[in-house]
Symmetry: C2
Subunit: 206 residues, 2 copies
């Protein structure tokens, strides 16, 4: 394992512990926000859920908004890096789009609490955070739209305004955060596969 020559093992452990506790707080807060709604959850609730005192929480986060913004930023990072990895492969448009849909759907299902918060709590962000969120969301959507647009130009994809098609495609996948149940009979992979087929080929057989 690579180790920094400068950091002593003790510092290393302390840093890793801090990152671990930060993640733990973020994850626990996400569970509570998703279940009860951001406003209904207090810093006390988050501390209680982990058996920490509130002062531990305030050591890591200035306030509840900072935790919320971390959840939004993390969601954006997860989605963007998954799609960028597909785009780097340079697939033909039909395969790229299908993979992007599957991956987006999988991200929603794998990070259900995060997606619930992402889709419901935007109004709790500051104006500056909302502007940044909108910019990053537009960047993300545009990656899909560009692939769709090229697909139309090549005659592979149906000639629907790309932003309408992509909003529909992502909307179907985003909705999974409402109804997907990881204890259900179908795996996330199966559902993502059905969605990709439904979107690419439609529900009509002929």
């Amino acid at each position: 394992m690579a180790k920094s020559a400068k950091a002593s093992p003790r510092v290393d452990i302390a840093t890793r512990k801090q990152a671990f506790v930060r993640d733990e707080i973020e994850s626990s807060a996400a569970g509570l926000f998703a279940e009860r709604g951001f406003r209904a959850v207090t810093m006390d609730d988050i501390a209680d859920s982990l058996g920490y005192t509130k002062s531990v929480l305030y050591y890591y986060f200035k306030n509840k908004n900072e935790i919320l913004w971390l959840i939004f930023s993390r969601s954006l990072d997860i989605y963007a890096s998954a799609i960028d990895a597909i785009l780097r492969k340079g697939h033909p448009h039909d395969i790229a789009m299908r993979e992007m849909i599957r991956e987006h759907a999988m991200c929603v299902m794998r990070n259900k609490n995060y997606t619930t918060i992402y889709n419901r709590e935007e109004s709790e962000l500051t104006d500056q955070q909302q502007r940044l969120l909108n910019k990053r969301r537009r960047d993300y959507d545009q990656k899909f739209e560009m692939v769709y647009k090229s697909g139309i130009e090549k005659g592979m994809f149906r000639d629907i305004p790309p932003h309408v098609a992509i909003s529909g495609i992502l909307g179907m996948c985003n909705w999974l955060h409402v109804w997907y149940d990881e204890r259900g009979p179908l795996s996330a992979e199966q559902i993502a596969g059905y969605y990709a087929t439904l979107l690419s080929s439609g529900y009509m057989t002929g």
Copy 2:
């Protein structure tokens, strides 16, 4: 115009006025809830937005939850009656499904505030209200699933588990509450038409 023989015109006017004020409060509250979130809006805010005193509000509604539940009930009524009207026409499955999708999408766009609240504020309802909501929502989804199931049996629709296909179809339409902008260049009818085509035939051309 038909008029009740028993009711005096004065009673009639009073009743109509009450219904009007009730609707006005409901509609204004829906706008505020959709914009700021249910918890962030007080009875004072709703009264202020209409130039009423809070006591007027409490004459019509016991509390904020009663207004919220009325918004949910109204949404359920609007959706169910639109779909029932289509089912009564006895169309073949492909036409019925297409009309149901278009109508569902139109309902979302026509009642954007209501759909936003419907999709975000469920956790604010009482347990009993949530049970009733879930029952009515299942009834609604099942109308779609039954048409889909018959369509599979007739070989018209792709053999995907009906609840997966319908969750995807309704999910795409429900998402319109997030991004549909009535000031945008496309009409609600155009968007509903694109969605119905995308869902029935897919984004691939061949």
